[in-house]
């Protein structure tokens, strides 16, 4: 039998095995979390776990497309999914809207960091368009995240656009979708006495229960920090640091600051910040998966430590 056929069979076999493990973990997690919340609605935890597993599966694919071996991809994505489930486990109650908002902010950050990396690799209209369109979707995320990402977009793309057009044109290209969407929603909000535009805003924001962040207890409150530190160390070890790393560092500093600003209409909760840090680090890891064993081990240790802190 040709080697390629054997390899293909092995690959498809291992993939099947991985799917079985993922589904089993999913069912176990759902069972455990549902058991933890027997009196509340079981739909909420199930939805939350499903979302976490889906997001981890996507990360698995992203890691694999970067060339990381399947087993390692599985290990990493399993740990990330486990972190999320552990969060749910220790939470006194599961609010899907809160969870959804946090995951939404994290996904938005993940996508923006990815776009910055794409732009870093090949500057051009597509990266800019993706960033601008993403920002328009970002109006569904919390304002501090949107503001930080908009500032980052300006910083990342402005220099390039300045060379190809005038300032005014560059601003238009970067910010038109988000401004149009914001203005559109604001007008509807102002016009509708009860309802129309509220629908858009209440999807996530009004039902949030923000618990303010305290700088003194950051490490204890945000278990994703070890994973984040490990990923950044890995990137340093591999000498792969680039504009997405700087953008991520900016987010690490700016988000808690902006998120706790008294004038901010929707402050960030600890869960938001933790999820953003966790998924931001995950994005950095997927952009350039750690191929050397030492780097992999460091990242894995970070992820395990984060899981430990989640308990």
């Amino acid at each position: 039998m040709p080697k390629s056929v054997i390899r293909a069979r092995i690959t498809s076999g291992s993939r099947r095995w991985q799917i079985v493990v993922v589904v089993t973990c999913l069912l176990l997690s759902v069972g455990v979390v549902s058991n933890r919340h027997p009196l509340g609605s079981w739909v909420a935890p199930v939805t939350a776990v499903l979302m976490a597993v889906l997001a981890s599966s996507f990360w698995y694919l992203h890691l694999q497309s970067g060339g990381l071996p399947g087993a390692w991809c599985f290990l990493f994505s399993f740990l990330l999914a486990a972190q999320s489930v552990a969060w749910l486990w220790r939470a006194p109650r599961v609010d899907v809207a809160e969870w959804q908002a946090a995951l939404g902010c994290a996904a938005f950050t993940y996508a923006m960091l990815w776009v910055f990396e794409v732009h870093n690799r090949e500057a051009g209209l597509r990266a800019l368009a993706t960033a601008a369109l993403l920002l328009s979707i970002g109006i569904l995320a919390k304002p501090p995240v949107l503001i930080c990402c908009a500032l980052l977009t300006l910083a990342v793309f402005f220099d390039e656009r300045r060379r190809t057009g005038r300032l005014w044109h560059s601003m238009l290209l970067l910010l038109t979708p988000v401004l149009l969407c914001t203005v559109g929603v604001a007008i509807l909000h102002a016009l509708a006495v009860e309802g129309v535009a509220d629908l858009a805003w209440t999807v996530d924001h009004n039902r949030l229960d923000p618990s303010p962040l305290h700088l003194s207890s950051l490490a204890r409150q945000i278990p994703a920090l070890p994973f984040c530190a490990a990923v950044l160390t890995t990137r340093l070890l591999m000498r792969k640091t680039a504009s997405p790393d700087l953008a991520f560092l900016f987010l690490l500093l700016a988000l808690p600051t902006l998120g706790m600003a008294p004038w901010m209409p929707k402050p960030l909760s600890i869960m938001d910040v933790s999820m953003i840090i966790s998924w931001g680090a995950a994005c950095l890891l997927a952009l350039d998966p750690p191929i050397p064993k030492l780097s992999r081990t460091v990242a894995l240790a970070g992820a395990s430590l984060s899981l430990y802190f989640c308990r």
């Binding site: 209209l125 368009a129 993706t130 044109h169 238009l172 038109t176 559109g184 929603v185 016009l191 535009a197």
Partner: protein, 639 residues
């Protein structure tokens, strides 16, 4: 001329290359001796002839140094043949064989007369392989020289009516399922009647639920259509999307390898822009001797015909007079001219078009790259008068979006591409194979692109631009746009006669993109006012009826359409002009929603015309731009 005396039997094989070369030089010498050209012109023409791989006569006539009649007289003398003027001494029509019309046009010969058992063949090209293959070595055949214009003229005189009839009916007769002659088939009528009946009954029995359902369906389709367009644009933001032919690839082409290229320019009552068009075609970086340019004019359009004659065009320009018949559409005129086309490839330009000079060469490279399945290559279109007024700016935004963003992405997805009105380049044999243009469809180009896809051919997009004149007057714009939308509806109806067959032919991707792109275009034009106006009215008045029409989920979709959809479409226009490097138009993209209202006006006019005058061709007046006027004045001064 009563009886042509000198007669030569054409050899059964064409002469060898060195003999041909000697012969060309001898013809050149004869032309110099007759003071028709100078020594220097002969030397230059011989150099160009070697570069282009063409014949001396075609080279000299293509450049315009020798008048065709003079050249053919000298050639007749050189070949020891008589020369006749077919206008004065017409051919015997009874000798014409309708199955041979294609050969007559291609190889420039026709049976002239029969005398004393000898068949006299009038030819403009005695060495053509087609002529040799058909008549070579026969002792009962003699040849007589004439000019190619006489051949074309005579062929049109004898076969014009048949050509015209074929131009109208050939697709409808050969492949009625692809023809828009029947606007709506009986089966479609039953479907339409059934849907209308269902709608009326449902509205009567369940007015509110039905209205909500209809509202939801229309909104959902539009939302998906917006999403699809955003995806296409996002794909096209990539610099290297689609087929990019580089300057190196163009430079690597040898002129000797270039094929004969037919250029059709259908015109009607556009005498003023003719000098501009001629200038643009002369600027094409393609051997003039290998261009077969046909100005396709209606026979009653005397002013344009006279204007063309007065320009003293070189011999690679021909005037094709299309006989008067219904429907009077551009595709019918093109089908007529197609019978006289001789090139390997064929393209269409409008009267005011300015193609980039290397466009034909890029297309040749593109055809060679795409291989034998390629039937058509579409060039990008854009406008040279973008800055004239608001309407031209909007038109430019729209064309940039269509040709720079949508079409390359559709090409990348390998789904049917609705061709643009001009600058579509065809492999002539494949164009004939699919039945050419549908004269009953008023957007024949879009229809043809879909037919190519349905029949398994590939349509590509090439990175070359033709600049046109954007419509700068509202009435003219509405007329043009209503014709386009009417044509889209025709195209949709034709292709949806057998949806399952279409699905099998173009696949799920092609089917969905057809529905979202063509169907979505029609629906958005028709539905836009119905969606936006009631929504705005409701926002300000909060009427109870409208409130019940927009329950929460429908409201969310409507809002997504209104805010995200509109914002996205505005932004896509911005991206398109950014890609085209027209940054000055970026702010104008914010006013695009106003343009969509105009589109809706045109859509309703188009729908009304489909019912009342389905095949009526709303003529777009060209040459009204101030830029065109300035250019006409300039070219007049130079003339």
């Amino acid at each position: 001329m009563s009886a042509p005396s000198p007669a030569r039997v054409v050899p059964s094989e064409p002469p060898p290359a060195d003999e041909l070369k000697r012969s060309q030089v001898q013809i050149g010498r004869l032309l110099v001796d007759a003071s028709l050209i100078t020594e220097q012109q002969l030397a230059e023409a011989l150099t160009k002839q070697a570069e282009w791989g063409s014949r001396l006569g075609d080279t000299l006539m293509g450049i315009g140094w020798v008048k065709p009649k003079d050249f053919y007289r000298v050639l007749a003398h050189r070949l020891d043949l008589d020369f006749i003027n077919l206008v004065k001494e017409p051919a015997d029509e009874s000798l014409f064989d309708s199955r041979e019309y294609g050969n007559y046009a291609q190889y420039l010969f026709l049976p002239w007369r029969r005398k004393d058992g000898i068949l006299w063949i009038a030819t403009a090209d005695p060495t053509s392989p087609g002529l040799t293959a058909r008549w070579g070595g026969r002792s009962d055949v003699r040849f007589i020289m004439t000019s190619k214009f006489d051949i074309v003229w005579e062929l049109q005189r004898v076969a014009g009516k048949e050509f015209s009839q074929d131009a109208v009916l050939s697709l409808a007769d050969l492949s009625p399922e692809h023809s828009a002659r029947t606007v709506i088939t009986p089966a479609q009528k039953w479907w339409l009647a059934g849907i209308l009946l269902f709608g009326v009954v449902s509205l009567w029995l369940f007015p509110l639920p039905f209205s909500i359902a209809l509202n939801t369906v229309v909104n959902a389709i539009l939302l998906v259509s917006f999403a699809f367009r955003t995806l296409l644009c996002w794909m096209s933001c990539e610099e290297h999307i689609g087929m990019a032919i580089t300057q190196e690839e163009v430079a690597a082409l040898h002129d000797t390898d270039l094929p004969l290229y037919t250029v059709l320019v259908p015109m009607y009552k556009e005498p003023t822009v003719l000098p501009i068009l001629v200038g643009a075609l002369k600027r094409l970086d393609y051997p003039q001797a290998k261009l077969d340019i046909k100005l396709v004019l209606e026979e009653d359009d005397h002013e344009t015909i006279d204007s063309a004659k007065s320009l003293g065009l070189s011999a690679n320009f021909e005037i094709v007079r299309v006989p008067r018949s219904q429907p009077r559409t551009k595709p019918k005129a093109c089908n007529y001219a197609l019978r006289l086309a001789r090139g390997q490839y064929l393209t269409i330009y409008d009267a005011e078009d300015k193609p980039e000079p290397d466009q034909l060469k890029k297309v040749v490279v593109a055809f060679r790259k795409l291989g034998s399945h390629a039937a058509c290559i579409q060039a990008h279109l854009n406008y040279f008068n973008a800055e004239e007024n608001w309407l031209t700016r909007m038109f430019t935004l729209e064309y940039s979006l269509w040709f720079d963003m949508f079409l390359p992405a559709l090409d990348e997805l390998r789904v049917p591409i609705p061709l643009g009105g001009t600058s579509n380049h065809f492999d002539l044999s494949k164009l004939r194979q699919v039945g050419a243009w549908d004269p009953f469809n008023v957007t024949e180009d879009a229809d043809l692109g879909l037919r190519f896809a349905a029949l398994g051919f590939r349509v590509g997009v090439v990175n070359s631009v033709t600049y046109e004149e954007a419509n700068s007057q509202l009435g003219n714009w509405i007329r043009q746009r209503s014709r386009w939308i009417k044509g889209y509806i025709q195209t949709w109806l034709v292709n949806m006669r057998h949806p399952v067959k279409l699905f099998r032919r173009v696949g799920w991707k092609g089917f969905c993109s057809f529905q979202l792109f063509i169907g979505g275009c029609i629906l958005s034009g028709l539905a836009y006012p119905f969606l936006v106006i009631p929504f705005i009215v409701w926002l300000f008045t909060r009427g109870a009826l409208m409130h019940s029409l927009f329950p929460a989920p429908v409201l969310l979709i409507s809002m997504a359409n209104l805010i995200v959809g509109n914002s996205c479409l505005i932004y896509l226009s911005m991206l398109a002009v950014a890609k085209r490097r027209f940054p000055a138009l970026l702010p104008y993209a914010l006013t695009v929603p106003g343009y969509w209202f105009l589109q809706s006006v045109a859509a309703y006019k188009g729908l009304w015309q489909l019912i009342t005058k389905p095949f009526y061709w709303e003529k777009t007046v060209h040459g009204i731009s101030k830029y065109t006027h300035a250019e006409i004045r300039h070219s007049g001064a130079n003339h």
